[in-house]
């Protein structure tokens, strides 16, 4: 009996009226965990019941603790008929199972009903007593921490990064069970919510076990997804990166966490190539390797790889791993060997992380992706149905015992794809894949499985197993700046080390870390695809490709020029309606063309912005009844290490036609203007390098680069910035038919964001590092009807493009009050719920930044025309603070010091204050004192404002009397605590002091009175608001004040307007954290976490 769960039901408020006669409710509560249920007394005739129950105690084993959610049901007692359910609260008690996270869950939770939405709130206190030492449990995995964040969490240090963990669990979807025909929609929804909650719990526990086996203690970059396969069932799958994390014991201000600026975090031996001349490498354009496989049945799988155009461009010579290190220097060989041995034991050397400790990432090869089309084929097992219909409601079945095929099939599907990814990475001379993610798109019985990542060469030191730990520690002690400064190191140690590293930054530095990752990992003679290599524009020692595509975030140490921007490629392809295998075949045939198109679009748009690298690339292919949609989002940047991109040149097909010629030249002018404008907009002014430094052009086997419709050529003359015609460095677009014309037109339709706005889909906006604390996370959903009678690919493309552009435009308009600001982590999700319907959901966060400071910050570095990106200005700023106090090291950091001074002078004015003063001034004089009143909500009534004879002593007993005749909401003195939400892993201007656990919630909402609830928009608007509210309430109850790495993984919306019905499923996740404002940190450094903790049982956090 390893655990005791204790639950106390305190009170309810704002309950709905359940008894029309009295306008009141006789509420009681059922508390259920596993198979045990407790009930509170009925609190009669009140909408604000005070149950103040005893502690309900559940004695359970820890496996159950991990799997089961605590289920609280609020009911209305009815003497004569069945009790009516008011609503439910599911509480995931997982955060209480690790020692460092939350110790108590206490607060007001919205009472949620799948038909009526939120109906009042309930105050609950939950505690867990674990009897044994956590580490002794093996059947459960209590104590393994989960993080959605795709970087090493801020207050931790990575001791070892073990690698990929994955698991999937399958069950029948309750919505499709026979029993669903006879039960109410509410019962069906609740069964589904509960089942998914159970499955997530089980999945998490199983992953936890794998982590323990690997001797890790945490999963970072945990991504859990649902595949609603309809008739064939429900799959819950998760991937993550197992790590051994150490909590940094001291989180106070002077310690920079994992993401300190690169200069201090210099990685020494591997970036300094001792023998640069012998080190030859190969080129890289953004790489995409895909294979399309389609298996008509589970047993039979036909590989139809290399059917796609990209691959046909790709000479397969480099596929063997033996070529690696052939030409490389001895050091490189050593590195390879080390890393390979470290990764060898692993089936899949994948990492779901997108941001890494400095030095972890040695080289980046390019994007690798694989897709596969599968037919969902449910094996109908009568035994299964019989058991599911049994009394024990959806307790998870171990599917293996019933149907040995099922999970194997899904597992096998994914294993196949992962294998492919692995081999693609190998072809790029890389032994690992970072920024790895998986996704599916399902339509009827066809499913597209996709996986993508970035092939990379990693530093093996992070990958050692436990045996190597001692060695690692040792290295740490003499190479302190290298990765996450250990907590054991005090200020004193830290100081001279940073001086060391600063001296390493000297001008004669051979290979600055800002470009190391750009250097090609593959072998120049065995290039996996044609690309143009030049010597790195930063160190001029090693070779770099002309363009780099990746799925990861921009590494902190990367040197970028100007700012980044969101780049999207959008594409529609019509498809014939077909059944089963024919359908799957036609989809597989279309996929390569779509990939190619998307890739071309991305490349064109990147060139159009004068940039040369993409980060955070995410390509979604969505399958619908009669079309396929592709949406790729990425953040374009100009990497200083890569060559300046050439322009785009249009080549007409019929040069003799005069008007045509004119048209072409007109287009060309427009394109050139756009490029020039974009360069100005994104402040891309690369340094002008004297030609001799660049060195002789690399003898390039140019004949290999056959021109297809588009082809990039690298520029040899870097100084050449004008975009005149006929230059060979230009990117040629041949207009050979109307399609191509359309494409060119569509290139130019992308409107840049209005001034004051920037957008990106990565964690940070390259080129902006002076965030102010104001953030606004939002979700926008649009469903549009493509109302063409005879749709063509072109019109569909245009419609889809307009839809996305308009959506972005509307976001800019909505958030105009936050200018200057940046939309970060813009995440588009496309779904095709029905014929002709396109659903786009966007989640992003708008962060304000200080414009004045930006200018100041820009000035200093632009003298060198280089800028460093930084995740966290806080960390960057703290660091120079330490350095500047030392006279010796202050010199090289003078620009940084300026930034710092600018920061300190500006951070004093919170953005919120500025904003409110503007719009509030109109009547501020009238009610400023009254705001205070609302804030404090003082209960004591001040008397005698008119007649002064009243004494204060008399006032207090009266205060109770005033309101006696009316039922006034109880606990009016509690203010709702503010919970911030962000898809990013950090909060600007704040320090995360504690991770409280993962938030992973799944909700269903259904209505049978769609019109009455304001139509589809009203329905979904309310539902999304409710989901936010429930997430915030859970975080607040854990004692947190923010959710980071928030993501809406699924938003499935279905409507039936004729029946006045709609249903929506939303799945969200994130990490609950406690943060402290930087400014507060200075005031109370000793125990910052305590400040944000709820004080009383009622969970009244005042922030």
């Amino acid at each position: 009996m390893p655990g005791k769960l204790k639950v106390k039901i305190v009170a309810g408020r704002h309950l709905p009226v359940m008894d029309r006669a009295s306008d009141l409710t006789d509420a009681f509560v059922e508390v259920k965990f596993g198979n045990t249920t407790f009930k509170t007394d009925v609190y009669p005739k009140s909408l604000n019941p005070q149950w103040n129950s005893e502690w309900f105690k559940f004695e359970v084993d820890d496996e159950e603790l991990q799997d089961e959610p605590l289920q609280i049901t609020v009911l209305d007692h009815d003497t004569y008929s069945a009790n009516d359910a008011i609503g439910k609260v599911y509480i995931d008690i997982d955060p209480l199972l690790y020692s460092e996270a939350a110790t108590v869950i206490s607060g007001w939770f919205p009472i949620y009903d799948t038909i009526h939405g939120i109906r009042g709130e309930i105050n609950v206190v939950v505690k867990v007593d674990l009897f044994n030492d956590l580490n002794r449990f093996r059947q459960s995995s209590c104590g393994v921490k989960f993080f959605c964040t795709t970087s090493i969490p801020k207050c931790y240090r990575a001791v070892v990064i073990h690698g990929f963990v994955e698991e999937l669990v399958v069950n029948e979807d309750p919505e499709y069970q026979w029993i669903d025909r006879i039960r109410t929609p509410r019962a069906s929804n609740e069964a589904r919510q509960r089942l998914i909650s159970l499955m997530s719990g089980e999945l998490q526990r199983k992953i936890g076990l794998k982590v323990l086996e690997m001797r890790g203690n945490a999963v970072v970059g945990y991504l859990q997804c649902f595949d609603l396969e309809g008739e064939s069932g429900l799959v819950v799958r998760a991937i993550g990166t197992a790590c051994t994390l150490d909590k940094l014991s001291n989180t106070s201000a002077f310690l920079p966490a994992c993401n300190s600026p690169s200069k201090e975090m210099k990685e020494i031996p591997f970036n300094e190539d001792p023998n640069p001349n012998t080190y030859s490498s190969g080129p890289s354009t953004p790489l995409k390797n895909q294979t399309y496989s389609f298996s008509p049945s589970k047993s039979y799988s036909r590989q139809s790889s290399s059917s796609d155009t990209d691959l046909s461009l790709t000479p397969k010579t480099g596929m063997g791993s033996g070529s690696a290190g052939k030409e490389g220097g001895p050091f490189k060989t050593l590195l390879r060997q080390q890393t390979q041995s470290a990764l060898e034991q692993r089936e899949f050397p994948f990492f779901t992380l997108t941001t890494f400790p400095p030095g972890f990432l040695v080289h980046v090869g390019g994007v690798v992706s694989a897709r596969s089309v599968k037919l969902l084929d449910r094996i109908h097992n009568p035994a299964f149905v019989g058991i599911m219909g049994n009394t024990r409601s959806y307790k998870l079945l171990d599917w293996n015992s019933f149907n040995s095929d099922e999970p194997e099939t899904r597992d096998a599907w994914w294993a196949e794809i992962r294998q492919e990814i692995k081999s693609h990475a190998k072809a790029l001379g890389c032994h690992a894949v970072v920024g790895y993610s998986e996704s599916t798109s399902i339509c009827e019985e066809v499913c597209i499985l996709s996986a993508s990542g970035t092939a990379a060469v990693l530093n093996p030191r992070f990958l050692q197993d436990g045996t190597m730990e001692g060695c690692l520690e040792q290295r740490l002690s003499w190479q302190p700046g290298f990765f996450s400064i250990g907590s054991e190191k005090g200020e004193v140690d830290f100081f001279p080390q940073s001086q060391d590293s600063s001296s390493l930054l000297g001008i004669e530095e051979a290979s600055p870390p800002g470009c190391g990752f750009c250097h090609i990992p593959y072998d120049e003679l065995n290039m996996p695809f044609p690309a143009h290599l030049t010597y790195c524009y930063n160190c001029r020692k090693q070779k770099v490709p002309d363009v780099l595509f990746t799925t990861i975030d921009l590494p902190v140490e990367a040197i970028v020029v100007g700012k980044g921007c969101l780049i999207q490629a959008r594409l529609c392809r019509l498809k014939k309606k077909a059944q089963a295998e024919a359908n799957a075949t036609s989809i597989s045939n279309l996929l390569p063309f779509m990939e190619y198109e998307v890739h071309t679009q991305l490349m064109n748009k990147l060139k159009l912005r004068g940039m040369n690298a993409l980060f955070g690339l995410r390509i979604q292919i969505t399958v619908g009844e009669n079309m396929l949609m592709g949406l790729a989002s990425a953040t374009g940047v100009y990497l200083a290490a890569l060559p300046t991109p050439g322009g785009i040149q249009i080549a007409g097909k019929t040069p003799n036609d005069g008007t045509y010629e004119q048209h072409i030249s007109h287009m060309q002018k427009k394109i050139n203007d756009t490029i020039a404008k974009n360069k100005e907009l994104y402040e891309i002014n690369p340094p002008e390098l004297p030609e001799e430094i660049i060195g002789s052009p690399i003898p390039e086997p140019r004949q290999r680069s056959r021109l297809l419709r588009s082809q990039s050529e690298s520029s040899d003359e870097v100084t050449e910035l004008d975009l005149s015609h006929g230059k060979k460095d230009a990117f040629v677009l041949e207009i050979d038919d109307t399609d191509a014309m359309e494409d060119v037109h569509s290139l130019l339709t992308d409107v840049p964001p209005p001034s004051g706005f920037y957008s990106c889909n990565t964690e940070i906006m390259p080129g902006i590092n002076n965030w102010t604390p104001e953030i606004q996370m939002f979700t926008a959903v649009r469903v549009s009807r493509l109302s063409n009678i005879n749709p063509t690919n072109q019109t569909l493309n245009k419609n889809f493009n307009d839809l996305c552009e308009n959506l972005l435009k509307s976001l800019y308009f909505k958030l105009r009050s936050m200018v200057p600001c940046c939309l970060c982590h813009v995440n588009f999700t496309v779904a095709l719920p029905e014929d002709e319907l396109v659903q786009i959901a966007v989640t992003a966060v708008a962060i304000t930044y200080d414009k004045n400071q930006a200018l100041q910050a820009n000035k200093a570095p632009t003298e060198k025309s280089q800028q460093r990106a930084s995740t966290d200005n806080e960390e960057q700023l703290q660091f120079p603070l330490e350095l500047c106090s030392d006279p010796l090291s202050s010199q090289p950091f003078s620009p940084a010091k300026e930034v710092l001074e600018g920061a300190s002078s500006h951070t004093g004015i919170p953005a919120a204050q500025r904003a409110t003063s503007v719009d509030y001034s109109s009547f501020a004089d009238r009610c400023n004192s009254w705001i205070e009143l609302i804030k404090l909500k003082a209960q004591t009534i001040r008397r005698g404002s008119i007649k002064t004879t009243t004494s204060l002593e008399k006032a207090s007993p009266l205060a109770e009397g005033y309101l006696r005749h009316r039922s006034v909401p109880s606990g009016t003195n509690s203010t709702v605590s503010v919970v911030k939400m962000t898809p990013l892993s950090f909060l600007p201007g704040a320090k995360i002091t504690k991770y409280l656990g993962i938030i992973n919630m799944f909700f269903i909402r259904e209505t049978t009175s769609l019109r009455e609830e304001g139509g589809v928009s009203g329905f979904l608007h309310a539902f999304i608001a409710e989901v936010f509210a429930m997430v915030r309430a859970h975080v607040a109850a854990l004692g947190g004040n923010a959710v980071v790495s928030y993501i809406m993984k699924q938003c499935v919306f279905m409507e039936n307007p004729n029946k006045n019905q709609a249903q929506c499923l939303i799945n969200v996740s994130g990490d609950a954290v406690v943060f402290v404002r930087e400014s507060e940190l200075e005031v109370l450094p000793p125990q910052p976490a305590a400040a944000a903790q709820p004080t009383g049982a009622a969970g009244d956090v005042t922030t």
């Binding site: 709130e121 008399k954 005033y962």
Partner: protein, 357 residues
């Protein structure tokens, strides 16, 4: 391509003040979009009409969902559905309960019933306030009235407590409740020159000086009702006009005090008895509900109009009331000085406020 569904939900609820005002004024989405267009938003933000429509619809939906909570502002503070910074919550409440004085003036003293609500069409036409806005404001009055009508203690503070209104707005609502409760007649032609502000000030003085709470906080009666015992006692003051000696002495005391200090001395001397009778009798009649209604009519007809026709200045009136109130202290045999001063404090305040063109 039409958008069937289009929503934007922020973790912090976005409130656009301009759209909120348009919504409060009762404009439909289409009207609101048209007005925003006229405001030049399109040019300023370089956006499209479609974006503006979508934005307006989003805000309207938010406001519709918020409206339920605005009916009980403390719930707005406690609710978890919308995360709104306190100053924004304050703004929402304040704007929601703000009212057009022209409308409030029309409704002062009327019963806040369904019947009155049906007449709002006419009121809307007269005041130029949109009918939907009229209905919302009327419902606000009624809601506040219902919430506080049985509560003890100072009206304004109860309202402030229950509706989280700024003090000045709470006082205005207290006046509306007070008038609705006592049903004072305010619609007569000769009262038309009085604004809502005048009546509100009068109501505040009356509550401040006359209500039960003003003297004894433990009082059992709500502030909105004038205390019965007090009104009953006012009858005792009639002695000032019924007793010939007292009336004469009162007059001579006042006249001797004002001689040379007041420009309308002669008129005062001539009219003193009539004025005094009017002032005292207004109070004496307050016990009967029917007479209560005529309170302001009487004051205007019997005090303000005669004074105005005699060309009194406000300063004259102030001096007169001051001495008129103080004089009975020196009257032998008058035992109700405290009651008298309490009565006259409110009457004086009302008269001084009402004495304008």
């Amino acid at each position: 391509m039409s958008s069937d569904l289009d929503v934007f939900v922020g973790n912090t609820t976005l409130i656009d003040e301009e759209v909120y005002r348009l919504w409060l004024d009762g404009h439909s989405v289409a009207e609101a979009v048209a007005r925003r267009l006229r405001g030049g938003l399109l040019e300023r933000e370089a956006t499209s009409v479609a974006v503006l429509q979508s934005d307006t619809r989003d805000h309207y939906r938010t406001f519709q969902m918020l409206e339920r909570l605005l009916h009980a502002p403390p719930r707005l503070l406690q609710q978890l559905l919308f995360q709104i910074p306190p100053e924004r919550q304050a703004l929402l409440v304040q704007r929601y309960y703000a009212f057009d004085e022209a409308l409030a003036r029309e409704l002062l003293g009327k019963k806040l019933s369904k019947g009155t609500k049906k007449e709002l069409d006419e009121v809307s036409a007269r005041t130029g306030v949109g009918i939907r806005s009229c209905r919302r404001q009327f419902d606000n009055f009624k809601r506040v009235f219902k919430a506080v009508e049985e509560l003890r203690g100072p009206l304004a503070e109860n309202i402030q407590q229950l509706f989280l209104l700024p003090p000045s707005l709470a006082r205005d609502y207290a006046a509306i409740v007070f008038f609705a409760n006592s049903r004072f007649e305010t619609g007569k032609r000769r009262l038309q020159f009085l604004s809502f502000g005048d009546f509100a000030a009068c109501a505040q003085s009356m509550m401040a000086h006359w209500s039960q709470g003003a003297l004894a906080p433990e009082a059992a009666e709500p502030d909105g009702d004038l205390p019965k015992s007090f009104l009953q006692d006012l009858k005792e003051l009639k002695v000032l006009v019924t007793d010939k000696d007292l009336l004469d002495q009162h007059k001579s005391l006042v006249c001797s005090a004002l001689r040379g200090k007041i420009s309308v001395y002669n008129e005062l001397e001539a009219n003193f008895k009539a004025l005094s009778r009017a002032l005292v009798n207004v109070g004496g009649k307050l016990t009967h509900a029917r007479d209560v209604r005529d309170f302001f009519v009487d004051l205007v007809e019997k005090v303000i109009e005669p004074c105005r026709s005699d060309k009194w200045s406000p300063g004259d009136l102030r001096l007169f009331l001051q001495h008129y109130t103080a004089a009975p202290r020196n009257l032998p045999g008058f035992r109700h000085q405290a009651l008298w001063e309490r009565y006259m404090a409110a009457i004086s305040a009302c008269l001084l406020r009402m004495f304008h063109d």
